[in-house]
Subunit: 437 residues, 2 copies
């Protein structure tokens, strides 16, 4: 490590030259332990953000970041254990539906998940809308849930990828968040530190996604897959639509309700379809199903009520009140609901999903800053969605308030500002675009 | 200043977008006063080093850096006062010859100069070889010299461009030294803070120059000129050769001797020619001469002995012992001199000037680190130079030692390693390539 020439390395990356694996490892190690200062790391981050990284550099960076902390090697402790990650969206409750659904098919799945920040919601925030649900498990508690009920979702522990935590905080204040290799290493270092047998990536694309443009989303998917090369975790990705909110509910408590409805077989078709596509891949990657038998098993788990029952067991295992599955009034309830009515007859042709996400955040359902407090009852119900025909005066959405008082007319006006109406339905758009592996 | 969005600015520069003048000014100001941390400045420096800057951005950066400290506005206090800057080379004593020569023609000239670092020598170091010479003048002392004897060379005071000092220290450890806009702003912020009426830039090109390749040197010259736009200081540049040491002497005391010899009319022709080209531009920019009358005035000052007399007055005004002009033994003397002999007959076809500079530094005549101590008597005399015909066994150079003992054979061997011999003289090469304004 003493032979690391930091100046020469920074000069080389500035000129676009390659970094050696041992250099990347030493730089990350020395930064994490404090012997390389922030100002040298931020210079390197900017050089990477502008000049990019080769696939090999990126895989090395990912490995260096994950090795900065605990490695759980879960795949060595179970015949098979799945992981799943979404790049984030509005109304994205796929993880919540997927976990018990896959678990009900006898396949173990565990996720170290994140909280919401910016326009996208957070899986952990939604789960914490359930009374007494514990989303801060120790590693032992995490594995006990996998052992006992096949599924678990918890926050990443302090010990996982400390390099990523330190680097991410620095990226956040140095204009280096938007960088494919840095995004990739950040996501994959945390995922590969858990070390599942497989990882299904839900890479969203569209106005409410982290990557709006299809080619960017695909590049991210391929980059995430490439960074896992040689890690021992099998990674596949689905590129799915985030040009419209997923499902009807966007918020926290209301998304728990929608999750349970999907598991009861009554949920919005889009949530079921996007979740099913991923569940099929999880089951196939387990090696115990082919595509055909996976679909059959999933249908059976849903129709038989086993998926719903699995959700009850899962919620209970993490300390939550499973009675919410049968009595939604046990969840945080809106203090006030404002209906939004269609200003004209015709079709909803588009909902700007980024704006819809920011609207939901502003109601209190998400965070603009990391220390904002979530208002679990706040949210939006998109009763009519892109492509739906509406009549003037008909209710197209319900704005749900939690703790804060807000002006109804102002909210209605802002809501309508990101919804577009027309005389004909918009062209159809698939929910799942592409499967990459 | 409170409306400066640092994150957005860094993101924009990362993407190659332009920075507004007020943003550059606020960033530099807040960095200098400490409210922007090193890690954000280093990210910006790396983004600038990779993505470059427009001429306007660069001029604004230069202005922001110079405004961080004192502005002397010398041009407002004299009818005319010149400044001169060299990008540095081996044996470059042009400033030492130029000052009294121009001063003897009745034109005032003042320079805030630097010390040597790396393979190039430093004007102040050479002057400090003169007993009692004071190169650390206060602003008052600096101006008194201009008032009384027309010329002065001193170190930049603490008050000049503190932003440059802080930014340069950060560039040095973040791989962002090699950057045209950052080099430009660093040089010009110090020069424009003094605020002369004119500035002649001696931009060196070749193996002993900061920029080895002609196009790089020309780009630097144009960049330096562009950064002065609107500053009130008229800037011109000459691109001159540094593919061979300038003159015969490289060191400190020996370069003072060579300077006096040039002023006596006995110096090496190359030193006189390169200095004369710049002196002509200084005189013409004063508005009191055209090219013809400038040449006549300079010839007259030299032949009459007024240039030499001016040097005596100048040295005296800065506290130095002017008797050195008539008795070189008053200067630090070599303790030992090793002659280097031609290993063959033929022509010297090249001297790698970077290697020659590093050799001189290693003798003690320069600095590898900023706190190295100069050995004023140490240096090299290049008695035979590129293009000269030599006979086997003839003395081609003298290696002069100061305080340190060294192995003669080792030094001779190393010296010959950067000198190339051949059967025919190398093609001729001009000393002054181009005049830019």
């Amino acid at each position: 490590m003493s032979d690391l020439n930091v100046y020469e390395l920074l000069n080389r990356k500035r000129r676009g030259g390659p970094l050696e694996p041992r250099e990347i490892e030493a730089f990350v190690d020395r930064y994490t332990t404090g012997s390389i200062p922030d100002y040298q790391m931020s210079a390197l981050l900017m050089a990477i953000a502008i000049n990019g990284m080769t696939a090999e550099e990126m895989a090395t960076l990912t490995q260096a970041m994950l090795r900065s902390g605990e490695q759980w090697h879960l795949r060595d402790q179970y015949d098979f254990v799945a992981d799943k990650h979404s790049t984030g969206g509005v109304g994205d409750k796929v993880s919540l539906v997927l976990s018990p659904w896959v678990g009900a098919c006898g396949v173990k799945i565990g996720m170290l998940s994140g909280r919401g920040l910016g326009h996208t919601g957070g899986t952990l925030d939604k789960l914490e809308a359930i009374p007494r649900f514990n989303a801060r498990l120790s590693r032992d508690q995490f594995q006990r849930c996998i052992d006992e009920v096949n599924c678990v979702i918890s926050t990443s522990t302090e010990g996982i990828a400390p390099a990523d935590k330190k680097i991410y905080a620095l990226r956040d204040v140095t204009g280096t968040v938007e960088s494919l290799p840095l995004i990739t290493a950040s996501i994959m270092s945390k995922k590969l530190a858990m070390g599942a047998s497989s990882l299904i990536l839900d890479v969203k694309t569209g106005s409410g996604a982290f990557m709006r443009h299809y080619q960017e989303s695909k590049a991210l998917a391929l980059s995430l897959i490439a960074a896992a090369a040689g890690s021992g975790t099998r990674v596949e990705a689905l590129i799915t639509d985030m040009n419209r909110p997923l499902g009807i509910a966007a918020g926290n408590a209301n998304e728990i309700v929608e999750t349970i409805e999907v598991l009861k077989g009554n949920g919005p078709a889009d949530v079921e379809e996007v979740t099913r596509a991923q569940a099929v891949r999880v089951l196939v990657m387990s090696g115990r199903f082919d595509e055909q038998s996976a679909v059959t098993a999933l249908d059976d788990a849903l129709r038989s009520g086993r998926a719903l029952d699995q959700a009850r067991k899962w919620i209970t295992s993490q300390g939550g009140d499973a009675k919410i599955a049968d009595d939604y009034s046990l969840l945080p309830q809106p203090t006030e609901t404002f209906e939004v009515r269609a200003p004209r007859s015709g079709f909803i042709t588009a909902i700007d999903t980024y704006q819809a996400g920011m609207f939901t955040v502003d109601l209190g359902a998400g965070r603009k800053k990391a220390d904002d407090i979530i208002d679990y009852a706040a949210g939006v119900m998109f009763d009519r969605r892109s492509g739906d025909e509406v009549k003037a005066g008909e209710t197209i959405a319900r704005i749900q308030l939690g703790h804060s008082k807000r002006d109804a007319e102002e909210l209605r006006k802002r809501f309508l500002s990101f919804v577009t109406f027309g005389d004909a339905p918009p062209p159809g758009r698939p929910l799942v675009f592409e499967h990459l592996k």
